[in-house]
């Protein structure tokens, strides 16, 4: 009779351990999924930031913005070809 109760207890413990393992695994998976979602959101946010900054840099670097400002503020002008001199670097600088 006592031997039978031991078996029941053993099965009960095995059942509880298995259940706990399943529960722990599921909890860890959900936690990982949440972290993954958070990371994805952060990455999307950073991507958005980067794209926005790149767009603003390109707009600021564009000729439509730079040329009028350079002309108005610094008195520069687009060089004519006679003002463009291609100077070969000395061979020692390589």
């Amino acid at each position: 009779m006592a031997k039978g109760r031991h078996w029941v207890a053993l099965w009960l413990v095995a059942f509880l351990v298995t259940t706990w393992l399943v529960y722990a695994r599921q909890t860890a998976a959900y936690r990982a999924a949440r972290e993954l979602a958070d990371l994805r959101a952060r990455r999307a946010n950073l991507d958005g930031h980067r794209a926005d900054l790149e767009r603003r840099i390109r707009a600021a670097e564009s000729r439509a913005v730079l040329v009028p400002r350079a002309q108005a503020r610094l008195g520069l002008h687009l060089p004519s070809d006679s003002e463009i001199v291609l100077v070969p670097a000395p061979s020692g600088s390589r």
């Binding site: 998976a29 959900y30 990982a32 999924a33 949440r34 993954l36 979602a37 959101a41 999307a44 946010n45 991507d47 958005g48 930031h49 794209a51 926005d52 790149e54 767009r55 390109r58 707009a59 564009s62 000729r63 439509a64 687009l78 060089p79 004519s80 070809d81 006679s82 003002e83 463009i84 001199v85 291609l86 100077v87 070969p88 670097a89 000395p90 061979s91 600088s93 390589r94």
Partner: protein, 661 residues
Amino acid sequence: MARPAVRIQVVEFGVLVGLALLVGRAAQVQILHGRRWAEEAQAQRTERIVLQARRGTLSDRHGTPLAVTQETYHVGIAPNELRDPTADGALLSRRLGLTARTWQQALRRRYAYFAGPYSALEVQPLRSVRGVHLESVLNRFYPDPAVARATIGRLGDDGLGASGLERTLDSLLAGRAGAAVVLKDRAGREYESPARVIAPPVPGLDVVLTLDAELQEIAQRALDDALRRMDADGGDVVMLDPGTGEVLALASRQRDGSARPSAFTDTFEPGSLAKIFAAAALLSLRRVSSTDRVSGEGGKWRVLGRTITDDDPQPSLTLADAIRVSSNIAIAKFAARLTPEEQYVTLRDFGFGAFTGIEFPAEATGRLRPPSEWTRPSAASLAMGYELSVTPIQVAMAYGALANDGLLLQPTLIREVRSAGAAGVRYRHRPEPVRRVVSREVAAALRDLLRGVVERGTGTEAALTNFPVAAKTGTARRVVNGRYAAGEYTASFAALFPADQPQLVLVVKIDNPHKGSYFAAQTAAPVTRSMLEQALAARTVALDRARLSTAAPRAAATPADDDGGMVPYVVPWPYQPDSAGVGPRRAVPDVAGFGMREAVRTLHRRGFRVALRGWGVAEHTWPAAGDSAAAGSMVTLFADPYAAARVRSRGPAPPPRGPRR
């Protein structure tokens, strides 16, 4: 009243029947209909979703993104879940740009949905707000929508390419959507489960276009300025590399501000631009010598019931004179030495009347009638560029053949196709010859004729002080509703820069200029000069400045200090002695995994200029490692702080190399 034993037996039988029914029903549910019930249960607690594939990036030849895919969001709001509707409402209205009325309407609904799409930046503060549900969706963005808009095209509502290169390259860019199963609760809310991805999405391939964003901007601005100044109906600019057939810039604009791709789709009569092709036939077939002269007829010549006139009458003209001053009379007289078949075949060989084969979804062939359909004046008309309709891209490729020593190439807009993440090059463009149109010697002779146009002829407005230019003007009457319209002209200009070993072919077309002169010499030629000057002064434009140095002897000989205090724009590049001529193309070294400093040094040692994109560890270059590029040309180096890990995963980084010459 039955005996107890009998009653017990009846009860036992009843229990047995009940159990049998139970077992039978269980077997029916589990075995016979098990699959259906399992699917139903699955459907109640899971949902299969489509994982969008990231569409590939379109970038210019230096890696500047022209079309990118970014994650955006639709926003759903459950008003009954909001903790503080007043405060949350203020935040939501501000971030989503909602009016007070819209927000009040949203509060009255059970679930309000705002499609947006909203950027990650816009929705970031909303992530922690209870009752706000974000649905991510990939969307296409064009960082600078004005750049090459018509060429790049757009996506349709179905997310597929609807026009332009987005349409042509759709199968490459689209990728393959994936699928995943997400868990959902009783209320239908989804829970993300990373273990339930059935098929991961396969991102589309990245495509590097041949376009040069800076040249494109130069072309667009020059065209816009010209159209505004001349009050013209529209215009086109095409720039391409004659050695490879790569289109570097394509600008089209109409009076109403629209930018349909008319460089591919709209035809025009080229007028005097086509005279050089009659000259090509005459020289190839040896029907004319350099000393042959024809009479200028005092500027007016009546032939076959038709009067041909010249704007700049000459007593007598050689073929060179005919091209230089763009004489209709002389070219018509010279062309009479050709048979219709010879004239037709030459024009056909230059690509007129046929598709160029460029990767654009809509391209016009133009019109070149076979000799059987010609009338008596057709030969003279074709020599002068009438009875022939062409597209600007066809003209550019035909002039490109002259620049390319007589070899006609197929034009292209695609430079490379890469796997996402720059892991590998799937396709790299190589020049694709169509046919040899004229011999190398004839091509050189034709370039000399075109050089005369800029030095002493109708194209002097395009002349540069230090660099020789070869070009041809064309001013043709416009056809409106099938008839030549009085006072309406198309001014066009085709140029090779520099005249020796050309690196750029430019075609400028101005439709119906109203203000000032309508002649190409005064309209399209100055626009060409302006664009060339800007291209020379630009840092990253795809010009081989080492080769240009040999083409600019006057610049080298004249010290800049002698020029009245003029401040020169100095462009350095690796030394290339003039005696060496055009240096051989060199292989771009593999610098993946190198530190930035070492990577730049390695590229400099190989004789390349370097443009940096990003920081950290070198990831890849454009042109890619192993590709050949001219010494002195620009190599774009892409770096990423996390590149080292990716490079390691692809294989060991190569040791730093010394210079190889």
